[in-house]
Symmetry: C2
Subunit: 438 residues, 2 copies
C-alpha cells in the first residue's frame, strides 16, 4: 500500500491533536505501519481560529462534503461531536465506502444501532476507542486481549471532571462541591455548563458502550440508573474517610447468575482498592474476569493529545486492515447482535449492595430506636452506626452502614424515615462496593 | 467460516488452562467470534497426569507431529516451554502454514529473529501476548492502542515471584529474603529452583520483547544489565521506607535525545508512585507516552487461567484474521525491522540516575569526610545522608541518596570507598527512579 488517505471533519481540540500527532510522529508512525498516513482534507466551519498547529491552508474547507465525497479519502474522522450533523456525516461517509473514526460517545450510545447497521451494510469499520476513557486502550482490550473472559464485574471512573472534584473534596474537607467545581472550571477541567459531566450523563453514555462490549447487550441510555455528584457534601466525604472509604463516581456493571446490573452513581470504595488511587482528572477501569481475575487500567481520559492518541490508534488499525484489503475483522459494537435488552437488565430496585445512609434527626430519646426499627421492618441489617456531636439546631446526623440490602427496601425505609417528626430532610444514600462487607 | 481448528503441544499448566477456557467459555467465545474454536489434538509426552480438566482421550497423542502435520489444524499452540524442541515445533508448524501462539518468552527473546523471519516467509502470525505480563494485554496495547506514541519511559514489574518477595519484605521488616523465598516456594509462587526468577533472567527476556515493541530494536538478552533481588536485605527495605520509597524489581526503558537505555535491577520508587501499589504476585506496567502521558496496566502476570486467557486472546485474533482470510495484519516482533542494535543502546556505565548507597564503615572521626570526599572527587553530589546507631562490632551503616549521577562514577567511587581501611565489605547500591529528586 502506498498510503492511507484521511479526511478530518471537525477541527476542534481533538482534531487539532490528531493533526499534531500526524505531524510530530509522522516518521515513527510510518516505520510502525510500513506506509504513510496522509491527511488530505480538513473541514470546519471556523477556518480562522488558532489551533496551535500549522496546516497548509489548501487542506482546509468549510464544506464537509469535500471530505465525504473525496474519492482518495478512505478514512473519515468525525470529530464534530453532538448528534447532528455528526450522524449524517458518518452515515454519508459509510455510504461512500469510507471507514470512520469517531470520539462521539453520545452519538454512539444513542444512535449506535443505526450507525453500526449502516457500517455493516457498507462493510466498513467504525473506530471509537477515543469515546471511552480517552487514551486508555480499554475497548480494544475488552474485545481482543480479554475476549476469553466472562466479565463478572467492571467498576470504572470515566469522567475526569467528576473525579477531579471528588478527589479535591477528599484532599481538603474544607472545600465544598461548588467551590471545587469553580476551581475545575478555572483550570479548564470542567465546562462552563457542567451538566453533562457532574450529572453523570457523559459517563452514562460511556457505560452503555462498555456494557455492549462486556455483555453483548445494548440498552437505551435512559434505562440506566444515573446519579451525579452534586449532592455529595463534605460531611459525607469525612464520614467516608472515617470508614476508610473514598467516594468515586463509578459506572458499575455486575453479572450474577445470568442477570446483569448496570448503574452509575457516587460509590464508596475502600481506600486500598486499586480504583481509590485513581485521582484527579485520571480515569481508571477496574475489572474482574472469570479467567484473568483482577485487572486495572489507568490513564488520562480526556485532553487534546490523549484523546487524539486513541483516534490515531484507530486510524492505524484501519490502515493496517486496508493494507491487507480487509475490514470488519473484529465484530463491531451492537451489530449484528443488535438486541436491545433493557428487560434482561436487572431493575435498579432489585439490586443488592451495601449502603451508607445519613439521617438528619432531632437528638431526642428513642430516635435511634425508631429509625433502626424502620430498617428492621424492611429487612435492612445494620453493620455500623455513628452518631456524633450535636448541631446547634438540635438536629444531628446519624450515619448507618448496612449489610447487603435490596435497593427497593432501602428506598422504602428511607421514605418512612423521612416521614418521622424527628427527621429533618431526606435521608442521604450512597451505595458502597466493598466485598469485605457482607 | 465454519470453525477455527487448533492443535495444542504441551499439556502442562497453561495448556490445561487453555483447555479449560475453551470448554467453560465455549459459548461466549463462539458468540463473540461468530464461529466455534475446535481443539482437535493435544500432544504431550505425559498422557497420564491429572490436569484438572477432562478431555476426550482420542484427542491425546504423544507425537507432536500429529499436531504439526494435521491438515485440519490452522493454529498450533506451543506451550512446551524451553528452547528445544519448542523451537523446532514452531518452525515446523510455520513451514506447514500454521499460525502459532506461544507463551515462550525465553525462546522469543533469544531466537526471535529466526522465528519471526520464518513466520514472515510463511506469511503466518506468531501470537505471544502471554509471554509478557500474563493476563495483561500490554503487547497488543503497545502495538495497537498506543501506536501513536513515542515511549519516553517504561517501568515494569514483570515477575510475580520477585514482586511477592519484595512486597512481603516491605510488609514485614522482620523476615529475610531467604525466609520469604521459602514461603513463596511453599505457596507455589516460586519454583524449587528460583534462579530464573530471583536473578532476573525471566524478567530480562520480557524486557527484550517489550523493548522491541516500544522502540523497534532488538537486543541480545546478554547486552541488558541484569541485577536480581538476592542482595536486598531488611536494612535496605527499612531505609527505603524511611525515605518514603519502596523497592521493586523493575525493567526500565528510557529514551532521551534518541538514545535508549534498558536495564533491570531492584529500584527504589516513591511510595505514592502508581507502581508502588502493585504488590504480591501482581504485575504492573507503567509507561509515559509523548501523547498519552502516564498510563498504568495492572493484573496477574502468571498462573494457569490468567496466562491461558492471553493465549486464547491470541487464538481469537488469529481466528478473526483467518475468517477474513488474512494474516500478518500487524507487523510482528523484530521482523522485518530485524536489526540488532545493542550499539544504539546506551551503555550501562553511561546511564544517569539517582542512587541509594549503603556503606558499612567503622565509626571513627573523619570517616564521613573521607567517604564524601571520594564522592565529590567523582562528581557525585549528595542529596541526603543518614547514619544511625552503632553496631556491636563498631561498624555502622551510612546511607547516602545522591543527586543524579553517572553509573560509571558511582562504580568508581564505590570501589575507592571499599578500599578504605574503615570500610567493611562492598558498598550496597540501589538505583532510584524519582523524578522529584533532581
Amino acid at each position: 500500500m502506498n498510503e492511507a488517505c484521511i479526511g478530518l471533519i471537525g477541527f476542534g481540540t481533538v482534531g487539532a491533536g490528531v493533526v499534531k500527532i500526524l505531524q510530530e510522529n509522522r516518521e515513527i508512525l510510518e516505520a510502525r505501519i510500513g506506509f504513510p498516513l496522509r491527511l488530505k482534507r480538513i473541514a470546519d466551519l471556523d477556518l480562522e481560529s488558532d489551533r496551535g498547529v500549522e496546516v497548509d491552508r489548501s487542506l482546509l474547507t468549510r464544506d464537509a462534503r469535500e471530505v465525504i465525497e473525496d474519492p482518495d479519502i478512505s478514512i473519515v474522522l468525525e470529530l464534530v461531536g453532538g448528534h447532528d450533523p455528526a450522524r449524517q456525516f458518518i452515515l454519508d461517509s459509510l455510504a461512500n465506502n469510507k471507514h470512520v473514526v469517531t470520539a462521539n460517545k453520545a452519538l454512539l450510545a444513542e444512535h449506535g444501532a443505526q450507525i453500526f447497521k449502516a457500517a455493516h451494510v457498507a462493510g466498513r469499520d467504525i473506530g471509537f476507542e477515543a469515546a471511552v476513557a480517552g487514551a486508555i486502550p480499554i475497548l480494544r482490550s475488552l474485545r481482543e486481549g480479554l475476549v476469553a473472559n466472562r466479565f463478572e464485574k467492571v467498576m470504572a471512573i470515566l469522567n475526569g471532571t467528576c473525579n477531579f472534584i471528588l478527589s479535591a473534596m477528599d484532599d481538603d474537607p474544607g472545600v465544598s462541591f461548588e467551590q471545587t467545581l469553580s476551581r475545575a472550571q478555572e483550570l479548564g477541567y470542567a465546562e462552563a455548563d457542567p451538566v453533562l459531566d457532574v450529572d453523570g450523563i457523559d459517563t452514562a453514555h460511556k457505560l452503555v458502550l462498555v456494557l455492549n462490549l462486556t455483555h453483548g447487550i445494548r440498552i437505551p441510555v435512559e434505562s440506566v440508573y444515573v446519579e451525579g455528584i452534586r449532592h455529595i457534601d463534605n460531611f459525607d466525604v469525612e464520614m467516608a474517610k472515617e470508614f476508610l472509604y473514598k467516594i468515586k463516581l463509578l459506572a458499575v456493571i455486575k453479572s450474577l447468575d445470568g442477570r446483569v446490573e448496570a448503574r452509575l452513581h457516587p460509590t464508596m470504595i475502600r481506600r486500598n482498592h486499586p480504583l481509590a488511587r485513581v485521582d484527579g482528572v485520571f480515569n481508571g477501569i477496574y475489572l474482574k474476569g472469570d479467567m484473568v481475575g483482577d485487572q486495572l487500567f489507568y490513564g488520562r481520559g480526556a485532553g487534546r493529545e490523549p484523546t487524539a492518541s486513541a483516534v490515531v490508534g484507530d486510524i492505524v488499525e484501519l490502515a493496517r486492515n486496508m493494507a491487507t484489503n480487509e475490514s470488519c475483522r473484529v465484530p463491531p459494537l451492537g451489530y449484528p447482535e443488535d438486541r436491545i435488552v433493557s428487560t434482561g437488565l436487572m431493575k435498579m430496585e432489585d439490586i443488592e449492595t451495601n449502603y451508607y445512609l445519613r439521617v438528619q434527626a432531632l437528638d431526642r430519646p428513642g430516635v435511634l430506636s425508631k429509625i433502626s426499627g424502620i430498617m428492621a421492618e424492611h429487612s435492612i441489617s445494620i453493620h455500623s452506626v455513628i452518631q456524633k456531636g450535636r448541631d446547634r439546631s438540635g438536629a444531628v446526623p446519624i450515619v448507618f452502614l448496612t449489610h447487603v440490602a435490596r435497593e427497593a427496601d432501602i428506598q422504602k425505609a428511607c421514605r418512612k424515615i423521612a416521614e418521622l417528626d424527628v427527621a429533618e430532610g431526606p435521608t442521604g444514600i450512597i451505595r458502597i462496593e466493598d466485598e469485605s462487607l457482607s
